[in-house]
Symmetry: none
Subunit: 182 residues, 4 copies
DNA sequence: CATGAATGAGATTTCATTCAT
DNA sequence: TATGAATGAAATCTCATTCAT
């Protein structure tokens, strides 16, 4: 997977994969039909634990903002600037040529993520924490800066480092209203 | 360029490019050193008019929200779901393997765009249209949903069409406060 | 053997052979040195019963024509258009690359067959059933149409079915003189 | 073609073909789609002149036996024991796996040859040179020994050389009746 | 005896690049 | 300046053979 992430599908050599895996080239074909299937199966394999993580969310205690903040800080630690973040970029890159990958990613991650966010937003609205009622129609807005941070890290971090944590905090302020710092 | 957008750098064949360009394969080498240079130069060529557009902004009349809205609606028409939108995805995809492309894109488009947005935001804050003062530190937040819309269109539009226009409106409501509809 | 017949030596996969034999691929190497030896030994194994058949000819009763006719009708039933016929074609196909196979086939089948036919022809000449005395020098002539029938079946049967039985009858008429049908 | 004749389709290496042709391996793919097409096209190319030969038969002068004898002696010189003879064996060998080749060979050579022979036989019968009237139904009988000779040369010549010329003469004696030698 | 995972040499095929015309 | 045939390195994939279990 690291090879695919680093080079993209077409530029990745089975030679390199075999070498990294410590097996002979032929061995790969005992496990995968061909390069395409390998790519698709690998992406799935890598995505599954992410999904399991998301679905076993911590119990909803505290304010909605606390929940979202916890979520954001996890995302910061475990996705942005990590191999997992690059996976997102890989899917953006190869999605159009691997519809099955895009489909899978949508079904397993995106649609669930959107649904989860929507539930949170509705809760926030009900509790009066969020004023903008229409936000529930577009949970993408809540997630957008996090996604941008992921992409920014792999493309522009060298030129202009981005304080993702702070950016997400500001974004939450925008949504939940400025937090009173004690 | 259409070929690169449709297939990515590695999967694009010079054969196809030559055919589409109506020249022989050898002719390409009279204009470009090799495939990589061609890619880089093409991306630059395509980006330049975008930049010119952005820098020749309409004179700042009306409220900041009006300005941003005009900008958003242009973006909607001319980028999201168009070939130009796919160019963004192409850069996200190939950026890590073509630092010079990412650099160029950052320098010519991103940094200028960010600077422009920041100026607008600061104006909005000064005029009292925008309450969240920290937004000026992260203009990315203002742009994020638009970028997400671009990516969404090429990856997930089939599964779940996204009303980008409406989403951007909600986002602006979030930033500028709900608009009083007359 | 069926695999070799269907695909020829080079195109036959040990994988397929193992599967058909209900053993693992490795097991083959407990019985045969390598693919070539296996082919050679298999051909031999299959040829031997044919030889035994031929050498345990029925006792020579009746006219020579009757003998030859019996033989021809057996050949029709048991060789032409059957797997055994394809074996002949296989040997024709692979003979030049497997001299030992061609050798074996010549020694065990061809030379014996030719000798047997010659004896029959000489008997026919002695009894006055066959007029063409030189036929004993080329028993191949007697057998030729039968061989052609074998090849025709596997190559051209689809385009132009051949009534092998009738052809052989006509050929015998040519050699023994027209038969008086009662 | 020599490579295919010597080794058969599957065992022939494009490497060798390229080397013999004095070109690089890639060059082959400028002329042929793949190995299979190359094989099919080569066979066709080689067969065509044979067909042209056959169709531009010498004017039918003299007795039918003379005609057939001329034909047989040409066949002896130009097919039996030559590369062209091996082509016949190649088609026998690969026919079942290359139906299109068998088809082509049947259409262009076999069916025409059979038709031509039939015409000759009918002429022979009409002129009283041939007594066995049914022979016209199976021209294959006339050709069979010639085909056997072709196969014999490539498989068994080493063990038992065959005097093909003499065999064909005897066969013609059988069909036309013994010739009175002056 | 039997297995079957692993091997790695080698086969076909692709494609960016060159160069004589 | 343009061509396109030719190149050959390199990529994917296959498969006979081995060997630890």
């Amino acid at each position: 997977m690291d090879e695919f992430i680093a080079r993209g599908f077409a530029a990745t050599r089975l030679d390199e994969i075999a070498k990294r895996a410590g097996v002979a080239k032929g061995t790969i074909y005992l496990h995968f039909k061909d390069k395409e299937s390998m790519f698709e199966e690998l992406v799935r394999t890598v995505i599954v634990p992410v999904v399991t993580r998301l679905t076993t969310l911590p119990p909803p205690t505290g304010t909605v903002r606390d929940l979202v903040e916890t979520f954001a800080s996890n995302f910061l630690k475990e996705v942005i600037g990590t191999r997992r973040g690059d996976l997102v970029r890989l899917i953006v890159a190869e999605g159009p040529r691997f519809p099955s990958v895009a489909d899978f990613y949508y079904r397993e991650v995106v649609s669930r993520g959107i649904a989860g966010m929507r539930a949170l937003i509705e809760l926030g609205i009900a509790r009066g924490e969020i004023r903008e009622k229409n936000l529930a129609r577009f949970p993408q807005i809540l997630v957008a800066p996090a996604m941008i941070a992921v992409i920014w890290q792999s493309l522009f971090a060298r030129h202009a480092p981005l304080d993702a944590q702070e950016m997400l905090r500001v974004h939450l302020d925008l949504i939940f209203g400025e937090r009173r710092t004690t």
